[in-house]
Symmetry: C2
Subunit: 192 residues, 2 copies
DNA sequence: TCCCTAATGCGACGGATGTTGCGTTAGGAT
DNA sequence: ATCCTAACGCAACATCCGTCGCATTAGGGA
């Protein structure tokens, strides 16, 4: 992450440049997709000089990493529907929406993660955080008496969400929301 | 795929060049990984001229696509252990081995698929083929009376294998073979 | 208000990557 | 054995990408 918000000189221009650049990244992504996302294009659209982009963000993946960080909702937590199955369905619907959005920032960042180590690490951290937060659905189920305490939350969440990522990202095939729901139900049933 | 094997002049030199190049690709991959895999390095190691590589394979992803095709075993089919669960465990162990091998050609091709459309399409075709062949484990289970005929083979295989890909490729975290087995069992149990 | 300097703008440079035109080699047909 | 030409080697060229030194601007403290 760039951490421009707490730099030694966070003043007006620096912050303005950053927001202009990130806005340009999003627009370019929307118009040309990840492949059409070049430093030069972002520079041209944002009016910020190439050199500045190289200095502050280093590369295209660096821009996406910053965008990912800017978009990260620090207050995010999974919805509480009252049942494990309901919670998992909600989680899967969020994942489904993120991966089928066009343009999908998530998809772009995944692509970037195969180019630079920094992007890969940023994405790994992001997902670690998300999966850790999502584990609360399992704790709630244990508290309700739905589950035994020994259930491995990560394995369970993997069962629920992995099919979505695999189908939509790696296999590059469509998946309906009903199918996404199905995988949530399979996961919920696997621990009963 | 390059299809050099049935080109208008498949003769000795062309075939020799191809095998030398693909061998060099594998060696470079082993030594420097995907990121260190450049056209120039392959040219230097194989003794084949840069221009020839650009003409026949176009790019690094093109080389990997060809390697993927050359490595595709046309006779492959899943092992028959006598039970759905046993078959799925065997499948998952193969996937696990392919993704944890070092170097993993599969991992390299996945990375390549995020760079060029041709690599992405080649990989999609490869997986379509593999999943279609693997569907036989479901048909066998139906014949044995283990399953109802309406079971969706693709969804079932997704439940079994997707967690491996997600954990090892996207989340970039380790997974034991025992955990891989676990996901096979969850998949088998989901249709009983 | 004035000054200091971090952040940005700017042009030139260098390296890596991919392309093109042409000469050379070798496989396969006659 | 001879010829034809696909495939390859070669070198020069074009382009893109990232870097560097220096000039300029503007934010924030004294």
């Amino acid at each position: 992450m760039i951490d421009a918000g707490r730099a030694s000189r966070p003043g007006g221009r620096t912050a303005r440049v950053r927001s202009e650049v990130l806005a340009a990244v999003e627009s370019e992504l929307a118009e040309h997709g990840y492949d059409g996302l070049t430093i030069d294009a972002v520079a041209a659209r944002s009016g910020v000089h190439r050199t500045t982009l190289y200095r502050r963000w280093k590369s295209v993946p660096g821009l996406l990493v910053d965008l990912l960080g800017a978009g990260a909702d620090d207050a995010w937590e999974p919805a509480d529907t009252g049942s494990l199955e309901g919670d998992l369905i909600e989680v899967n619907r969020e994942v489904h929406a993120a991966l089928t959005a066009r343009p999908s920032v998530t998809q772009a960042v995944i692509a970037a993660s195969f180019r630079t180590a920094e992007a890969a690490e940023a994405l790994t951290r992001f997902w670690e955080d998300r999966y850790a937060r999502t584990a609360v659905v399992v704790r709630r189920a244990v508290e309700r008496g739905e589950l035994a305490a020994e259930v491995d939350a990560h394995q369970l969440l993997l069962t629920a969400t992995a099919p979505l990522y695999h189908q939509l990202v790696l296999l590059r095939q469509p998946m309906t929301r009903a199918e996404a729901d199905h995988h949530a139900r399979v996961a919920a049933a696997s621990v009963r």
